[in-house]
């Protein structure tokens, strides 16, 4: 079934729409004109009619599987809006703190907890939540606080490890630099000594080759 033109065959051979086109038809993604043409084809083509009927049956079966409503609870279930807002605020502040070289202090973590508690209190004072919902949100907020405290501690530990590795590398560089300095000094000293010796040799050579004033008159 490959052609896009239904009933457009020649010599009595019917051309059928593709499965892709039938999917557009079944899910109402085709133009009204094309829909009319496809319906007309179904009336004349038992093979396509059988195929489309099978697909329609599968669609009906799919509708039989109904998902139950989301069941919330204080322990499981998706965290409420206040919990997510508080978690997001805490995540941002924790990410900011762990971006610094020093790890978050106890004072900073206490400040974070106060900020989240203020958010939770604000939501409670709005008077929109029942007691049970408020308790569920508070439990979710506390759990979130604990999780992000653990996250902050882990980040601090990783930063400490990185710092130690960097310090070790820098110490290694220092050692190598010191060695290179020493070697350069040796070369410099040897070179200077070499120059000195060369100068002395040249001076001696010059003293051998320069004519003495007394010798010249005697020879004449």
């Amino acid at each position: 079934m490959q052609s896009k033109e239904p009933n457009a065959g020649t010599a009595g051979v019917m051309k059928h729409p593709s499965p892709e086109e039938w999917m557009s038809f079944l899910y109402d993604e085709t133009t009204p004109e094309r829909k009319t043409q496809l319906r007309a084809h179904l009336e004349k083509c038992p093979e396509c009619a059988r195929q489309v009927e099978g697909w329609r049956g599968a669609q009906t079966d799919l509708d039989r599987w109904v998902i139950p409503a989301v069941r919330g609870s204080a322990r499981r279930g998706v965290i409420g809006r206040v919990g997510w807002a508080a978690a997001a605020a805490l995540f941002i502040m924790t990410a900011f703190l762990t971006g610094r070289l020093t790890s978050p202090t106890r004072g900073e973590l206490s400040e974070l907890k106060r900020t989240v508690a203020a958010l939770a209190n604000s939501a409670r004072d709005n008077g929109n939540s029942s007691n049970a919902v408020y308790m569920a949100r508070l439990a979710a907020t506390e759990e979130t606080l604990r999780l992000f405290s653990d996250f902050a501690a882990l980040q601090a530990q990783e930063r400490q490890t990185e710092r130690e590795e960097i310090e070790a590398t820098l110490a290694n560089f220092d050692t190598r630099l010191g060695r290179m300095r020493s070697e350069l000094e040796t070369v410099a000293v040897n070179t200077y000594n070499g120059f000195e010796q060369t100068h002395r040799n040249l001076t001696r050579l010059a003293s051998y080759s320069a004519p003495r004033p007394g010798n010249a008159r005697e020879n004449n």
């Binding site: 499965p19 892709e20 086109e21 039938w22 999917m23 557009s24 899910y27 993604e29 099978g54 697909w55 049956g57 599968a58 669609q59 079966d61 799919l62 509708d63 039989r64 599987w65 109904v66 998902i67 139950p68 409503a69 989301v70 499981r76 279930g77 998706v78 965290i79 809006r81 206040v82 997510w84 807002a85 508080a86 978690a87 997001a88 605020a89 995540f91 941002i92 203020a118 958010l119 604000s122 004072d125």
Partner: protein, 219 residues
Amino acid sequence: MTGPDATMKTILPMLAGASDEQMMWRVKMAGDSEAFARLVARWEKPLVNLCTRLTGDADRARDLVQVVFTRVFSGRGGWEPRSRFSTFVWRIAINLCHDETRRKNRLRECSLEDLTGEFATELADGQSASPDLEADARERGELVRRALMQLAEPYREVLVLRHYEGMKFAEIAAVLGIPEGTAKSRMAEGLTQLNRRLKHLTEELSCNRKNQTPELRVL
């Protein structure tokens, strides 16, 4: 007026009519926690439904959705404003469901629901509340769930996104990164295979019932 109250009372009305992309922009640029919370409120149920359909496990789906939102927030720097938020979040959810399915296959986990065939399905709209019809509806729903779980991932994904989530084929193609024609052909093949598997499961079930003694049937 200062403090969290001022923030909530000023910003909330502005966020009420904001699109997903506008809210995600605020989350990306300003780390706006209230905008993020609103996105969660909007997308929680559709994502739980999607993850339940793809994994066949409603409880696990709720856990996965929490991970989805965590990844949305932690990956906000990578979100491009020109792309739709729905595409962004569906992709994260689908990838997580892939990982979950592969993890289950590796562990060959068999849930209690799989063993007993009792999955908490609800009646479809319009069905009678009588116990026999209720049991029959649940059973049929469970068969559909099992048949869907037996399909290969590429077919199951397209079926779930088109039939249950109501996404257009063009949108499905964008989310999955495939041509639109491929999305449609996978849909056709998926429906065909679903029919075949449902037929097989139904025959298996009626065969099992015939082999049970009357006493066992009562149990």
